[in-house]
Every structure is written in structure tokens, then in C-alpha cells.
Amino acid sequence: MSRDEKRHDPPFGEFSVPGPPEALRERVMQAAGAALERDPVPDRWRRVWESRAARLAWAVSVAGLLVAHAYITPRETAVRETASFNEEEITELARLPRIEPAALASVTLEPGAPEEEEDSL
């Protein structure tokens, strides 16, 4: 942790930080030794992983999803056929309009001269 920065002289470098009192060592070793003899406390993730309640909740969730999947069917689609066409109607609709023979006379087959486009300024 030390080499990437310039070290500064400590303020009050002639003094030192007091160490722990002598009696603390025995107190700490006693408490820590007792903790060492007990089973180690599992960390948070292990507690969750090994928790009976969490496993039960997981199993209930999965079961619920399966039940929902099996019994709750999706509703019929909202778009419904309002009327059904029969074949004759479709044929009628698809038939091209007839051109009256009298109207044909007004149809010239010669191509007309293209209209001159007005030059725009």
C-alpha cells in the first residue's frame, strides 16, 4: 500500500500513538477464543442458500407458476369476426367492373402529345 505516493513527514512525528492496554490482550483472546470454539457463523449468502424458509418460498413460487401455467389459459383474442363472407360475395367483390361498349368509343388508343410543362422561372 505504499509506493505510489510521496510520503509526507508525520505531524508530531516525535510522538507515537498509544498502544492497547496490557489487559486488553487477555480479554480479547478470551472472547475470540470462545468464538473460535463455536461453529463459524455462515456468511449472508450461505445463510440464504441454506435457509429452510427461503427454499420453501422458492418451491412455493415454482409450484405457483406451474399451476398458473397449467390452469390459467389466455382469453380468446379480442379481435372477433363480426361477419363471415361467403364465397359468392368474395367473388363478386373481386370481379373487375365491366366497361360499357359505348364508353369504349371515347377511349383513343393513340397516345396524346405530352402536355408542355410550364417553365418555371
Binding site: M1, S2, R3, D4, E5, H8, P10, P11, F12, E14, F15, S16, V17, P18, G19, P20, P21, E22, L24, R25, R27, V28, M29, A31, A32, G33, A35, L36, R38, P40, V41, P42, D43, R46
Partner: protein, 198 residues
């Protein structure tokens, strides 16, 4: 018992310099022994780290009694949560981080009950029994007591725990720049206090 705990001699309680000198691999070996539940590894950890841990707790809480409690809580935590010690990548930083959190919790608990002044806290002590030096150390401690906790903590971590500003940032949970700023502001304030400008 593996090589780590056999090789290192047990130090005296003020073996803070060992705390700074020990390499990352040696720290990890020690934590590996702790994870295996070795009682001697616990003693070795105390001899290596108690001084620095106590100092950090003292500078953060401003109370020797609370600092002692923090050290005890830390060691109980190390012993009871030893399973996770193998996964600790930087044991030294981990120790300082947990110590700091415990110290902050101790200060919060205290503030909830009664605000105790930290002016009388012996943040520093004079080597030897020279009365005038002892008085100077008390004066220096009184100046340190007037710093905000975060600035005092940054000065401790930098000078006494041998941490870079990046490491301080990781331990305290702030960006490196903020850690460096806290240090600089703390030193500047100390200078002003010593010159009687504040």
C-alpha cells in the same frame, strides 16, 4: 499449523511496524490459518495488528475504552466469521475497513446516549517519562481532537497505518481524491491551530 504461523515470531503488543511491513502473501497465509481455526494464528494476528487497529479505533472514537471494545469486537468477528477469511483479497485493508466500521458504529451509539467530548483523549503519547514531552504530547492530542473525525482518520491511515490515498479511499469508501483532500485539509487545519490562527 502451517508455515506462516511457525515462521513469524510472536511480537510484542506494539509491533505496529510489522503490520506495515508484512507482505500480502503473508497476510493471506495468516488469514488462511485463521480460517482453519488455529488459535495461535489469532494470537499472532493480535501481536501484529492490535496496535494499529487500536490506534485507528482510538483516533476515530476518541476514547481508549471504546477503542478496546472495537479491538475485541473485531477479533470476535474474525473468529466467528472465519469461513469468509479465505476469500479476503487484501487482509490488511479488510482489517482496517472492519475496524473503522466498528469504530463508526461505536461513535454513533455513543452519540445516541450522550455526547462525550474527545478533547482529553490521548491520541499521542511521548516516549519516555519526560514531563515536558508528556505535556507537549497532550497539547498535540488536544489539537488533533479539534479536527473532524474524517480528517483525523485520514492522517492516521496515511502516517501510522502506511496507507496510500487510494487505499484510504477504499477503506473509508470515498474516492481517492476525497481521501487526499481530507488529509490535506486536516494537515492545513493542524498547521493553523499550531500557529494560533484558529
Amino acid at each position: 499449523m502451517d508455515a506462516m504461523t511457525d515462521d513469524l515470531p510472536v511480537q510484542g503488543p506494539d509491533a505496529g511496524s510489522e503490520f506495515n511491513r508484512l507482505g500480502a502473501a503473508e497476510w493471506r497465509a495468516l488469514f488462511s490459518d485463521l480460517a482453519a481455526g488455529e488459535p495461535r494464528a489469532l494470537e499472532l494476528l493480535y501481536d501484529l495488528a492490535a496496535s494499529r487497529i487500536f490506534g485507528l479505533a482510538l483516533w476515530r472514537t476518541g476514547s481508549p475504552e471504546e477503542a478496546g471494545d472495537v479491538v475485541q469486537d473485531l477479533f470476535v468477528r474474525v473468529a466467528s466469521q472465519r469461513d469468509r477469511l479465505r476469500r479476503v483479497r487484501d487482509p490488511k485493508a479488510w482489517l482496517l475497513t472492519v475496524t473503522r466500521r466498528l469504530a463508526v458504529d461505536a461513535v454513533r451509539r455513543r452519540k445516541r446516549h450522550a455526547a462525550e467530548p474527545v478533547e482529553d483523549c490521548p491520541f499521542l503519547e511521548a516516549p519516555g517519562g519526560d514531563a515536558s514531552r508528556i505535556l507537549d504530547a497532550q497539547r498535540a492530542s488536544a489539537l488533533l481532537a479539534r479536527l473532524p473525525d474524517a480528517q483525523r482518520e485520514a492522517i492516521y491511515l496515511h502516517h501510522h497505518a502506511g496507507c496510500t490515498f487510494a487505499a484510504i479511499g477504499d477503506i473509508v469508501g470515498v474516492p481517492t481524491f476525497t481521501a487526499a483532500s481530507r488529509y490535506r485539509l486536516g494537515i492545513a487545519k493542524l498547521r493553523r491551530l499550531m500557529e494560533g490562527k484558529e
